[in-house]
């Protein structure tokens, strides 16, 4: 796999506070990465360092195998951090022309990218007249002007209304479908779950996990079951060695698997025992549950 970004033992201290602690990870081409972590966990600081706006205290990072200087590498990157920053007195077109000059690319993609984010009809409006959602979409258009190798988004849906959030997610999915590598920092877990294949989880500047979303926890998932004969059900499940924790809440029984078992097998077994189900779902933990689990384990 081609490496896009390598981060080695990165540390950033603000006085006594350590914002990022000995962080290492690699971003490979073609994947969609999520950086997860609560507020203040060092996500933005990490991105700030690799984007040349925050000075590191220790450690190394290198773009594209380390053969180019950071600012030249950034010309092949598209990034938006926190809030969209443009010249308020300039129109969308003028702002994008400026970005083209900085990135040293031609201006012929401006219309295409404005079209992609749905701002073509407002292209001659001044930036300060835009709503937050439009500003954020313009920022995405601007980040895409150079057809970047990697798109970096830091909290892209922060402060947006539900429609705005939906629009941004649609755009991200569209871009991901084109094969662009994406690095998405967020504290919104469902957001990351919906689009990312890999995650890096941070807490208080330390890495807790980095790898595929699927491999995050080696569990076999769990069943959600409903039946009129819940006592018999719980009794049976408890006697079955394949199950670990079993709990019943509001008539819904949740049984965690210790070993792989298909829903079919369970259904047949219960049927043979004379237990009839009105509800049977097999699920894996959501990213949110896994995330809380991982951060909880670490804090103990």
């Amino acid at each position: 796999m081609e490496k896009i970004l390598t981060v080695n033992n990165l540390t950033k201290k603000y006085g006594y506070l350590t914002a990022v602690k000995d962080l290492s990870f690699t971003i490979e081409k073609g994947n969609v990465y999520g950086i997860l972590g609560p507020n203040g966990s060092g996500k933005s600081t990490t991105l700030g360092i690799v984007l040349n706006v925050v000075n590191r205290t220790h450690g190394e990072f290198s773009w594209f195998g380390g053969n180019t200087s950071t600012h030249d590498a950034l010309k092949k990157v598209g990034a938006i951090i926190e809030r969209p920053n443009f010249y308020p007195y300039m129109t969308a077109i003028q702002n994008l022309k400026l970005v083209c000059k900085i990135k040293d690319v031609t201006e012929n993609k401006i219309e295409e990218k404005l079209e992609l984010v749905g701002l073509l009809d407002r292209k001659n409006s001044k930036f300060r007249t835009y709503s937050l959602g439009m500003k954020q979409r313009l920022a995405i258009a601007s980040a895409l002007l150079n057809d970047p190798e990697i798109l970096i988004l830091d909290e892209p849906t922060n402060g947006l209304d539900p429609q705005g959030i939906h629009q941004i997610r649609q755009i991200i999915k569209k871009i991901a479908a084109q094969g662009t590598t994406i690095l998405l920092a967020s504290h919104l877990l469902d957001e990351v779950e919906k689009v990312c294949s890999h995650v890096v989880i941070l807490r208080k500047g330390e890495k807790l996990y980095s790898g595929r979303v699927d491999d995050m926890m080696a569990t076999h998932g769990f069943f959600e079951l409903k039946t009129a004969q819940s006592e018999a059900l719980v009794k049976h499940l408890e006697s079955d060695g394949n199950f670990g924790e079993i709990k019943t809440e509001n008539g819904l029984t949740t049984a965690f698997l210790n070993e792989e078992m298909s829903a079919e097998v369970l259904n047949r077994t219960l049927f043979e025992k004379g237990i009839f189900l009105s509800h049977l779902v097999k699920r894996k933990e959501s990213l949110e549950e896994q995330f809380l689990e991982i951060t909880k384990n670490q804090s103990n």
Partner: protein, 277 residues
């Protein structure tokens, strides 16, 4: 280099306030020529400025570069705000993320300073030249093109002053405060001079030291031209006062200002490099 200038041009020219100030500045420069038209004719008192000899070559180079230098305040506002706005709009952050290096950022601002100073200097040269052709009593080529060092001094003075503005813009990050600081600094230099002469050394030494302060060094480049006028000289002779000052532009004055310029540009870069945005 062209790319960096284009980047700054887009930023400046699309800003209405900057555009108005820049245009106003050049119109005001042109107005120097209107001074020629000043003519009082009140009964027995006849006063025509152009006849006093202020437009005689080579004196006009000195006079005009001295007067024109006052208008630099207009561009100072433009330069301070073009720097401070990058901070208040946080566009400096976006510029760096988009792939401008920190040095390129400072360099593009400095190139703008050079460009504005060059255009101002050319403008001043052309206006003075035309005014001189129209009103000067001397028109030999050798006289016309003597004392041109005042034009060079004007250029150096602008570059030095604007670099100072650039540095203050980065240091203070707010245009209004940066301009306030500029005025405060000019006063501080005088206070320091007073203190040195009063308590520490002789007034003569204090004066020499003062020549190394940035604002004073810039103002030393072009001395006031009024006492050099023949009319004033004649007056001096009559009342027995000797107005023999040293008006020349000295090489060491230019060196001092250039050294400050280098320091300001490097200082801006060092500040930007050290800061987390």
């Amino acid at each position: 280099m062209i790319r960096l200038l284009q980047i700054e041009f887009i930023k400046l020219w699309n800003n209405r306030a900057s555009k108005v100030l820049i245009i106003a500045y050049f119109i005001l420069l042109t107005f120097i020529s209107l001074v020629a038209a000043i003519k009082f004719d009140i009964g027995p008192i006849k006063f025509h400025l152009a006849e006093l000899g202020i437009f005689d070559f080579p004196y006009i180079w000195h006079f005009n570069s001295f007067i024109a230098a006052f208008f630099k305040l207009f561009l100072a506002v433009v330069i301070v705000s073009m720097m401070a706005n990058e901070y208040s709009n946080k566009t400096i952050k976006q510029n760096l993320i988009d792939g401008l290096s920190k040095w390129e950022f400072i360099y593009s601002k400095f190139l703008t300073v050079l460009a504005l100073s060059t255009v101002s200097t050319l403008f001043l040269f052309i206006i003075s030249f035309l005014l001189g052709l129209g009103y000067s009593s001397y028109d030999e080529i050798s006289i016309i093109f003597s004392d041109l060092e005042f034009i060079l001094a004007y250029f150096v003075k602008l570059v030095g002053f604007f670099s100072f503005c650039l540095f203050l813009g980065i240091l203070v990050k707010r245009s209004a405060f940066a301009l306030g600081f500029l005025i405060l600094w000019a006063i501080l230099e005088q206070l320091l001079f007073g203190l040195l002469g009063w308590k520490v050394t002789s007034w003569e030494t204090a004066n020499t030291i003062k020549g190394f302060f940035p604002m004073q060094a810039m103002s030393n480049l072009i001395d006031e031209p009024f006492t050099r006028l023949s009319a004033v000289q004649n007056l001096g002779d009559q009342i027995g006062e000797d107005f023999k000052f040293d008006y020349a532009v000295h090489w060491y004055e230019i060196i001092i200002v250039l050294a400050w310029t280098a320091l300001f540009v490097y200082g801006s870069y060092a500040l930007l490099k050290k800061r987390d945005l």
